[in-house]
């Protein structure tokens, strides 16, 4: 369904609204999406959905700095025009916003080329998703059952504004997830790509099944601080929270972030380098943000030193930064720019190599239901899940019952002493993604236990 409107027709839907009378400036963000998701549990497909939708998000500015937003999924000319009029009405009743610094102008150098669209992924049929599911399940031994999902999405995005911005892109996304359950243990694997053909369903099923076998008959591990090896899914959770809560420019400016007042300081291990880069072929990227500002590589932590934060137009102006870094979210957004395409630089060695350097500690597959408990220290809490193992003398000794952790992310990353060579695209954030390697940390605080 993606590509149904295209680079001419989708932006053209904005033309009437951009010219609405009584507005100083207008921005229209248009999307057209086709989302398909096949869900399975107990090794059978139990939910299976397909949805086509679209959206016009109109931001209208009157009197220079009064701003209102209207959103509709009625992409007819009258639907978008009425939404623009409602946004203008909202702007009219809003007091002047001195922090609003206008809409961006077209970039002189245009937009970067980003490869993130695959026609075959966009055209995936329900039977093909069912086949992906069946191929994952085929790897599970008797007595082990699978739950998870196969996702294929396609979308178009256009940003048009009265300053002359007229940007268009399209993207696809494919994801496979499988949780294998057998006896008293579980195992999990997932993978994402913008080309469904890049996914290896058999490998995911096999990996999840292997964790079930390795984790059978789990034993108690008392709460305490241990060295850990975090697989990429678990690392992604830390990096995702750090990006959202710690590396957003407005939070940093307001003293609510662990990097507030610490740009230029060594906050993590020298082995930690994190960038935001939606132009990288390693993530399903996008050439511009929701204000039409070009995407570019933004270093955030370099060799452990905090070097940057993300901004949109408004938060950049508040911070006195040179300009937006290309990280605007859909308006209205009071949180300012947020990094959405996070990459952590890989090191060398396999997960087994990382494990071999641990005398007594834990190997964690992924975390569950994490939440920020302290913003300025970047402390989060959550549970381990679906593959937690006790390491002894450099080898996985046995499956461990799940534990709760409560840990500062920055402190944890200060203790990184080895980084895995392979990275995994392991989470999609908003329109973005996280690609990270496995890490070995000197200490990670596990604060309570479970009975399974």
């Amino acid at each position: 369904m993606a590509g149904r409107l295209g680079p001419e027709r989708l932006p053209a839907l904005a033309d009437d609204a951009v010219g609405i009378a009584g507005a100083d400036a207008v921005e229209v963000v248009l999307t057209a999406t086709a989302t398909s998701l096949t869900r399975f549990a107990d090794s059978r497909i139990h939910q299976n959905v397909a949805r086509t939708d679209g959206e016009a998000r109109v931001r209208v500015v009157v009197d220079g700095n009064r701003v209102g937003v209207g959103v509709t999924n009625d992409l007819s000319p009258s639907g978008i025009r009425e939404t623009a009029e409602r946004a203008r009405e909202a702007a009219t009743v809003s007091p002047p916003d001195p922090t609003f610094r206008g809409l961006p102008a077209p970039p002189p150098a245009g937009y970067p080329d980003v490869a993130a669209y695959d026609e075959r992924t966009a055209a995936t049929e329900p039977a093909q998703r069912a086949d992906l599911v069946a191929r994952m399940l085929a790897e599970l031994p008797r007595g082990v059952y699978g739950a998870g999902a196969a996702v294929t999405d396609a979308g178009e995005l256009a940003v048009v504004n009265s300053q002359g911005v007229r940007a268009y892109t399209r993207s696809t996304r494919a994801m496979l997830r499988i949780l294998a359950s057998g006896g008293d243990s579980t195992g999990y694997a997932e993978a994402g790509a913008w080309r469904a053909g890049d996914l290896r369903p058999e490998a995911l099923g096999e990996r999840a099944a292997r964790k079930v076998a390795l984790g059978a008959h789990p034993q108690d591990v008392p709460a305490g601080s241990y060295p850990v090896v975090l697989e990429p899914l678990a690392v992604a959770t830390l990096v995702e929270w750090l990006g959202e809560a710690g590396l957003a420019g407005k939070a940093a400016l307001e003293g609510r972030s662990p990097v507030s007042g610490r740009i230029g300081e060594q906050i993590c291990s020298p082995l930690v380098t994190i960038v935001d880069d939606a132009t990288s072929p390693l993530v399903p990227g996008m050439p511009f943000d929701y204000e039409g500002t070009p995407k570019r590589r933004l270093p955030l932590i370099e060799r452990g030193v905090a070097v940057g934060v993300a901004h949109d137009t408004t938060s950049a102006a508040l911070a006195g930064a040179p300009g937006s870094t290309g990280h605007a979210l859909p308006a209205p957004n009071g949180d300012g720019g947020v990094p959405t395409h996070l990459l952590m630089e890989p090191g060398d060695g396999s997960v087994d190599d990382l494990v071999s350097g641990v005398e007594r500690g834990l190997l964690v597959t992924r975390f569950h239901y994490t939440n920020l408990t302290h913003p300025t220290t970047s402390t989060i809490t959550g549970m381990t899940r679906d593959g937690t193992f006790w390491i002894e003398d450099g080898r996985v000794a046995y499956g461990a019952r799940n534990l709760r952790f409560t840990q500062s992310i920055v402190d944890a990353l200060a203790g990184v002493d080895a980084v895995g060579a392979e990275t995994a695209l392991s989470a999609f954030l908003l329109a973005g993604a996280v690609r990270v390697p496995a890490l070995r940390l000197r200490s990670f605080a596990f604060t309570s236990t479970t009975t399974y």
Binding site: F40, A41, S43, A50, E89, E125, R256, T373, T381
Partner: protein, 486 residues
């Protein structure tokens, strides 16, 4: 296009296929409208009005589900969506595992209409009036010395829905939900502390009209809330202690009910349908009638008819009339939250808790108003009755494991309780425990005057992720738990 016409057209398109393998189908034509206003200090940070309309078509073909939804309303688009739904269902049938066919319960098809009782539709209140009200509250908060900034917000939701099924159901429903709140921030010395009124995460939400936001009286409470936030900057962190007595305010008890009673008693979770994402439950189907979930003080119901509850409606999204069911009676587990599919697995009828967050998503089991029955007294009398403990107020963070067993909640403020007196203020407070141990330790619950139906407007579940707005009646409670973090 009128919603009833759209729903009729979609159902006609299903019937026109004359596909004899379709055992059942239902269609929901829905129009969601939302208006949000966010004020920060003396300016409006965001004003937005959102509208989303479309139709979702769910078909059961040879015992397997298919669903397709479209925002486009032309007859051709609707016919195409019906064809996709049937294709999707056939694909579902290719991977059946050891499971037999999906069956539905014997709920008879309903006909009727429902509109949330209200005085002023929140989507019809002039924006200028909302902005003025929020700015007044912000101005009052900013009188507090040391405040860094204040956010005051309101959201209004209107959902119009027309439901039809091949079994003969015909329903029209309009649900209005509304809420608002105030977040006061104090930042300094490496700390960022927030105090909210009347609750965190955008405040208190109910079904009803704009009058419910005015009843919160945000301007009147703004200054005290801001002053409390500033006071937290100088407070010590809550120390770590095991097996402490905790008195928990009713808004936090509501979230405790949500996470450790509501979710674990969703029958789809118990049956493993949410295993890969949200998780399962420590509860088994066979625990009903035998599991001592809590102390004898603990009685919990699911009630979609509670006046003003955020989870109150006339019909769920499978067309089942609003219902009330006991979940826990005198501490013993007696029921589950069910939909038509899971109830059929038990040979019962749906409890009417299937809800979808839009026209484009399928109904899942969601809480309606899962409420803890009141006891006696109130927060002050329970504090006065506590020799040695801590009072924890207003949620700040939440986390619970994938079987809803091991939880940890952060709260905005804590107070020491000594000999029945509220004492020292603590910041960065949290309490943790295990679900059944915690509820069995309950030895006091506030009475009817202390009891309030709190709204939880941000309950996540399912893939694609769906948000639900649900309610929980709760009063102050006293329990045993671990406080602080070791």
């Amino acid at each position: 296009v009128d919603l009833a016409d759209l729903a009729d057209a979609a159902l006609d398109a299903v019937r026109a296929t004359r596909d004899t393998r379709i055992e059942y189908a239902d269609v929901r034509a829905t129009h969601d409208e939302t208006e949000s206003v966010d004020v920060r200090d003396d300016r409006v940070e965001g004003v937005s009005r959102r509208s989303s309309r479309g139709v979702g078509i769910r078909v059961l073909v040879d015992g397997a589900w298919g669903f397709a939804a479209t925002a486009a309303a032309s007859p051709a688009d609707v016919r195409s969506a019906v064809d996709v739904a049937i294709d999707v269902a056939r694909a579902s049938g290719h991977v059946r595992g050891e499971h037999n066919r999906t069956r539905l319960d014997e709920t008879p098809p309903a006909s009727g209409s429902y509109v949330t009782p209200h005085e002023r539709d929140p989507l019809e209140v002039p924006l200028a009036e909302k902005v003025e009200h929020l700015l007044a509250a912000a101005a009052a908060a900013r009188e507090a010395q040391g405040l860094s900034f204040v956010e005051v917000v309101t959201d209004g939701f209107r959902r119009r829905m027309a439901f039809r099924s091949t079994a003969g159901a015909r329903i029209e429903q309009t649900v209005l939900q509304v809420g608002g709140g105030l977040h006061a921030w104090a930042v300094g010395g490496g700390e960022a502390q927030v105090r909210c009124y009347p609750n965190s995460y955008r405040g208190q939400f109910v079904t009803g009209g704009w009058e419910a936001v005015l009843a919160l009286d945000l301007p009147h409470h703004a200054f005290d809330t801001a002053r409390d936030a500033v006071a937290l900057l100088d407070a010590p962190d809550l120390p770590y202690a095991e097996d402490a007595t905790v008195v928990v305010d009713s808004s936090q008890v509501a979230l405790q009910v949500h996470e450790s009673i509501g979710h674990p008693l969703e029958l789809d979770r118990i049956l493993g349908m949410e295993r890969a994402y949200a998780g399962t439950s420590f509860v088994d189907v066979d625990d009903r009638g035998s599991l001592q979930y809590g102390s004898p003080l603990v009685t919990v119901t699911a009630d979609a008819t509670t006046p003003g509850g955020l989870g109150t409606f006339g019909y769920d999204d499978e067309g089942v009339p609003a219902a009330t069911a006991d979940l826990i009676r005198d501490g013993k587990l007696v029921g589950f939250l069910t939909n038509r599919e899971t109830a059929a697995e038990l040979g019962e009828r749906s409890g009417g808790t299937a809800r979808a967050d839009s026209w484009g998503t399928i109904p899942l089991i969601r809480m309606s108003n899962v409420s803890l029955a009141p006891g006696e007294g109130d927060l002050e009398s329970i504090v006065a009755d506590t020799a040695d403990g801590f009072l924890l107020v207003t949620n700040r963070s939440w986390s619970i494991d994938d079987r809803r067993h091991n939880f940890q909640f952060g709260c905005e403020v804590a107070y020491e309780i000594k000999n029945g007196q509220r004492g020292r203020l603590y910041r960065n407070s949290s309490y943790a425990g295990r679900t059944v141990d915690f509820w069995r330790s309950c030895d006091a619950l506030g009475g009817a005057d202390d009891w309030l139906v709190w709204g939880v407007p941000n309950c996540g579940k399912g893939e694609p992720a769906q948000n639900a707005r649900v309610g929980h009646g709760a009063s102050t409670g006293r329990f045993r738990a671990t406080i602080g973090v070791r």
